[in-house]
């Protein structure tokens, strides 16, 4: 059973959210359960000890502490990297971009809107999570991971378009993905070994074979998603051709 956790210090609101969550599970017959409706962070932490996943609805401000929800979310992220986190908060407590960078939550639910809107949001978040679970079960989603300092970042493999290096910045890999571009220290060789669907088409580029939209064998030029063009070295052109034919 997929666990759901709720943190809210206001007793009336907590009862209300609890009711919405339980009803949603019941009506849709989801394979989920509300593990705990806690009034403080300790209540959530004690119940999530032996869990590997979960959907968390967290109130940002608990009692006097205005960042309690964020602190708890950081702990949850560290323990369960793939947990779904939803913040329930008033508008002025919200540091939107900060949360996005630190926690990357599934959603935000603003308290200062009608009760009905809040309910709809909670229902939507539960069903979105359910959809994700189904999708994950259908085909185990592959993740492309990289490290920056002590932090681990991940991008779904299906989003990755290419990895490249430039002469201007040796020792630095540029990741281009759908809706994302970033750079981090590393080298292409290690990624080439680690991920089989990444193809070394040139000494400075690794491309995702699933994201090739066109390959010009004559001019040895491959076109990837988002119209990114990449040259293919003479040595690799035949291999790439063979690989693409066999697909």
């Amino acid at each position: 059973m997929f666990p759901i956790y709720l943190l809210e210090d206001n007793a009336v609101q907590r009862k209300e959210y609890e009711r919405i969550i339980n009803n949603t599970i019941l009506i849709n017959e989801y394979d989920m359960t509300l593990v705990v409706a806690a009034e403080d962070t300790a209540g959530v932490l004690s119940k999530m000890a032996n869990s590997e996943e979960g959907l968390f609805f967290l109130d940002m401000e608990i009692g006097e502490e205005s960042q309690a929800g964020l602190k708890l979310a950081s702990k949850i992220r560290a323990a369960l990297p793939f947990a779904q986190i939803v913040f329930i908060t008033t508008h002025d407590e919200l540091s939107f971009l900060t949360l996005e960078r630190r926690i990357s939550p599934l959603d935000y639910i603003l308290k200062d809107q009608p009760a009905d809107a809040i309910m709809q949001k909670i229902i939507k978040d539960i069903s979105v999570t359910q959809e994700m679970l189904k999708a994950d079960a259908a085909r185990h989603q592959e993740i492309f991971g990289y490290k920056l300092g002590k932090r681990f970042f991940s991008v779904p493999m299906k989003d990755v378009i290419m990895l490249s290096t430039t002469k201007e910045r040796p020792g630095c890999v540029i990741l281009t993905a759908t809706n994302r571009q970033t750079d981090f220290p590393g080298n292409l060789n290690s990624f080439e070994k680690k991920y089989s669907q990444l193809f070394r088409c040139d000494k400075s580029a690794l491309i995702n074979l699933d994201r090739i939209s066109n390959y010009d064998y004559q001019n040895r030029k491959v076109t990837l998603a988002a119209d990114i063009e990449c040259p293919v070295s003479f040595r690799k052109s035949r291999e790439l051709n063979r690989l693409l034919k066999n697909r």
Partner: protein, 443 residues
């Protein structure tokens, strides 16, 4: 060539390295029993190696120090090596000069024409040699000391110029040349006279080079100073701009209040005054951005340059009809290095974001300052629409010949690319784009 006995050779080497080690320890204030024992052991070892390998012992000494630093600190400390190289080169020169002088004195006083004839008097020769070395060393030290006294030329200043590495290469080449000269001289059995002539030419060359180098350093220092001044001027003008904008805000505010007071004055009925105030409140006349919570967060930014920039952009955004929100999560945010580059990157990112936001329905830009684990993050986020050419933005990462140089992003990339611990992360999601500058703290 004069053959001298092993003992003499050991004593000679001993004095050669004695001077170097003592001065080196003095410069870096290495004192204590442990250091003394270490230095003594090193000295004895070097003396023994020196008697076998002659001048090549200096090369071995240098290599040993390089390896030791590599092991102990994981990298080379150029300031230490520079001092060592200078000392080694200087001492080698003094040594050769002393050899020439002692041989000359002895052969003149004994009336020996053939240099080989001096081999019989090797003890005396070495004695005179050592005396001359000591005298020269003392004179040289005295001379350097008096120069340093006149012109405070501290190690810290040299380090601040960041020319350590270049200086090291220069000194290394110099040292290598001297060693080569001596090595070939020894193998070929060149007499001290010829060696001395070669060295004199060499010293002249060094003198010329040093003079040139000092000149170069001075020019370089001045250049750096100018650069700094330029940057300061830029910051000052940024600051002035922000003050100007704040002043304009204040004036507008004052104007609103004046109007309010004037209209209050015309009212005689208390009830009407109340009505008016309620209305005014309702119309946000009293609301002001001056002490807005959004901008109050800049207090957490500890670098004045960055704070100034954010404040300036805040007012600039306001002028453009865009709302700039600052998020700092109530914790101090301080950047330890390359602040000027960070300022330029953020300035560019904010300009882009404000320009883009102006065209959007959601006219707001968020800038967030985060400290996560061992890295600092500065994120700028704004709304985008379909005209926002994502592909081009992404493309430029691979080919810098992209066409969107006008976006200022190419500029940002270049700035970020120059700094090893800087990384740029661009993510677009659900109609918003977030550009994040990531700064790794530890090095």
């Amino acid at each position: 060539m004069v053959d001298i006995s092993i003992l003499d050779s050991i004593i000679q080497s001993f004095f050669l390295y004695f001077g170097i080690i003592v001065v080196y320890n003095h410069i870096f204030k290495r004192t204590g029993i442990k250091m003394f024992i270490k230095s003594s052991t090193l000295l004895i070892l070097l003396s023994l190696i020196g008697c076998l390998l002659d001048d090549m012992a200096s090369v071995i000494f240098l290599l040993a120090v390089v390896i030791e630093e590599k092991i102990r600190f994981g990298k080379l400390i150029f300031s230490h090596l520079n001092v060592l190289l200078t000392l080694l080169s200087g001492q080698t020169l003094v040594f050769s000069l002393a050899a020439f002088l002692s041989e000359s004195i002895l052969s003149l006083s004994l009336g020996i024409v053939q240099v080989n004839g001096l081999s019989k008097f090797s003890h005396v020769l070495v004695g005179i040699d050592i005396v001359i070395i000591c005298v020269f060393d003392l004179i040289a030290l005295r001379f350097v000391y008096s120069i340093l006294k006149k012109q405070p030329f501290s190690m810290a200043k040299l380090q601040s110029l960041k020319i350590d590495k270049r200086l090291f290469v220069f000194l290394l080449v110099l040292f290598g040349s001297i060693e080569l000269l001596l090595l070939v001289g020894n193998i070929q059995g060149v007499t001290a006279t010829i060696q001395f002539t070669l060295l004199i030419v060499f010293i002249l060359m060094i003198g010329l080079m040093s003079w040139q180098m000092i000149e170069m350093i001075q020019v370089y220092t001045r250049q750096q100073q100018l650069e700094n001044e330029k940057q300061q001027n830029e910051q000052l003008s940024t600051y002035l701009k922000s003050v100007e904008q704040q002043y304009l805000e204040l004036r507008k505010f004052k104007h609103d209040y004046k109007n309010l007071i004037v209209s209050l004055n015309t009212q005689t009925d208390m009830g009407k005054v109340k009505d008016y105030l309620i209305k005014a409140n309702h119309n946000n006349v009293l609301e002001t951005s001056l002490n807005d919570a959004k901008i109050a967060q800049v207090e957490q930014l500890k670098d004045t340059a960055i704070r100034g920039l954010v404040v300036q952009k805040f007012f600039y955004a306001k002028k453009c009809g865009v709302e700039l929100n600052v998020e700092t999560l109530n914790e101090a945010f301080q950047i330890s290095e390359a602040v000027t580059i960070v300022v330029r990157v953020i300035g560019n990112l904010l300009d882009n974001a404000i320009e883009q936001a102006q065209k959007m329905a959601d006219k707001s830009v968020i800038i967030a300052f985060n400290k996560i684990d061992d890295m600092l993050e500065i994120s700028v986020r704004n709304a985008i629409d379909s005209t926002f050419n994502q592909q081009q933005i992404f493309k430029t990462g691979y080919s810098t010949k992209g066409q969107n140089r006008g976006l200022g992003l190419a500029n940002v990339r270049e700035l970020v690319g120059r700094q090893r611990q800087f990384h740029l992360d661009i993510e677009s999601k659900a109609g918003y784009v977030t550009m994040t500058l990531i700064i790794m703290e530890d090095e």
